[in-house]
Amino acid sequence: MAEAAAPPGGRGRPPRLAGILAPLAVFAVLVALMEGLKRAGVLPVTVPAPSEIAAAFGRAHGDLFYHMAPTVLSAAAGFVLATLVALALAALAVGWRPAERPVMTLAIVIDSIPLIALTPILMVWVGNGLPARIIIGTIAALFPLLVGTVQGLKAVDRNVSELFHILAATRWQRLRKLAFPTALPFLFAALKIAAPLSVLGALLAEWVSADRGLGIMMIYALFSFDVPLTWLTILAVCVVATLAYGLVALAEKLVLGERATSIVGGR
């Protein structure tokens, strides 16, 4: 017992103020720069000054939040649905050898269809209501989730896999106690990519047809040549997508703890 080892217990990093202030400063400088350039007349008419976007927010924030709600709803529902479908398909592909090729091929085919073409076809089929928007949000996020989960489920250590065999573990025990925990870091990496994709998918569906949503608000603003309002909706989409990413990253920290940062390297 003479071997040296770190005592058990985590070592948390204190939150650094600089880590928050630095990006904020960069952002402020960029905004100021854009404002200056616009006033100097360097920027084209299609690019508004930040102050104009702020003014648009002042006059239209009621509309903005009214349209944001359904976008967030269909993106979130699509995201959750995509996660469930990806988990089920990945478990099938990894748990049953003959299924892997068909499942992955189908996923690649679906992913290679341009969503902008698929959306109108789908709407003819299931109508242009919330279900269609959720389905598009699902399809947009599905592929990276499936690839990530399959890769994660297969990342099981060979020795540990043999150990489960020696212990005569059931399929279910192997999935729950070995494959799924092994896949979690991969799954979270995929979720971080997929969350903004769901938002984009929902937005796309609203462009094609919707009576409410950031997508349709963006189209209206565009067609009425309201440049600041258009930019406001773009900004709102960015904020929603970034928040979605941030929520997943937060969940990752909570679920994985110290494992969150070590997807690559080490064993």
Partner: protein, 260 residues
């Protein structure tokens, strides 16, 4: 606690559609409660032999029995403990949860199984119950994996170069502890090693294998008293046995260099 009988066992692997023999005509008997060492150059089939005993692989020829039953029966009754060269722990589980894994999987009544807490003590990791594997040194990780292998009180303990990655000093210490644990549990132990001194120090008999194809070339009975102490390694008796293993391993090669 179970006798292992290996009767004219052969194992061939399919490589590029061709059958390549990894083990040929191996016959061995490991008596119940004994400690045996397998030694040989890398690639001679030591791991393959252990994996055949553990029912991870099936032999191409011959028969293996554990306590008179096929290895599959012993495996499903959780009578086999296995320690890999790498600790192979689940990184998301704490020390105690890693040791508890076999109990979780086997389920059923605890019966006379050792409690995980006492296993932690047995392998000398008290105070580290809640540490994660990444927080432990290599030697400590391997202790956890030994405790895990013992969790179901196996009748057979198979160890595949368990201390191969450790430094000499740590390895000696781990070997002494392994002997103590083996004596306390009374399990039948088979240790794969590529260190001659380790094989002689630990075992009741050292089985020497050769490569291409993997086969048994000699068995050296070790009639040294137990419990074994480190001082034993400095005795002429010990050196004589080491030399016999060395002779079996190197054969004619050894004679040539002695002459030249």
């Amino acid at each position: 606690m179970s006798e292992i009988v290996i009767d004219r066992v052969g194992k061939a692997f399919e490589i590029d559609g061709k059958s390549v023999p990894a083990l040929v005509d191996v016959s061995l008997r490991f008596e119940a409660g004994g400690f045996y060492a397998l030694i040989g150059p890398s690639g001679c089939g030591k791991s393959t032999l252990l994996r055949l005993i553990a029912d991870i692989l099936a032999p191409t020829d011959g028969v293996i029995t554990i306590g008179g039953q096929p290895p599959g029966v012993a495996r499903r009754q959780h009578e086999i403990g296995f320690v890999f060269q790498e600790a192979s722990l689940l990184p998301w589980r704490s020390v105690i949860d890693n040791i508890e894994l076999p109990l979780e999987i086997a389920g059923g009544p605890v019966g006379d199984r050792p409690r995980p807490e006492s296993l932690v003590r047995l392998v000398g990791l008290s105070g580290f119950e809640n540490a994660k594997p990444a927080q432990l040194s290599g030697g400590m990780q391997q202790r956890v994996s030994i405790a895990r292998a013992l969790a179901l009180r196996p009748k057979v303990l198979l160890l595949d170069e368990p201390f191969g990655a450790l430094d000499e000093i740590t390895r000696q210490r781990m070997n002494l502890e392994l002997l103590r644990i083996w004596q306390e549990t009374g399990t039948t132990a088979v240790l794969v090693t590529h260190t001659i001194g380790e094989a002689v120090f630990m075992a009741d008999a050292v089985h020497v294998l050769a490569a291409r194809p993997g086969r048994l070339v000699d068995t050296i009975e070790v009639d040294l008293p137990r419990p074994r102490r480190l001082a034993l390694m400095q005795t002429p008796e010990f050196n004589r046995l080491e030399n016999r293993v060395r002779a079996a391993l190197f054969g004619d090669e050894l004679a040539e260099t002695a002459d030249g």
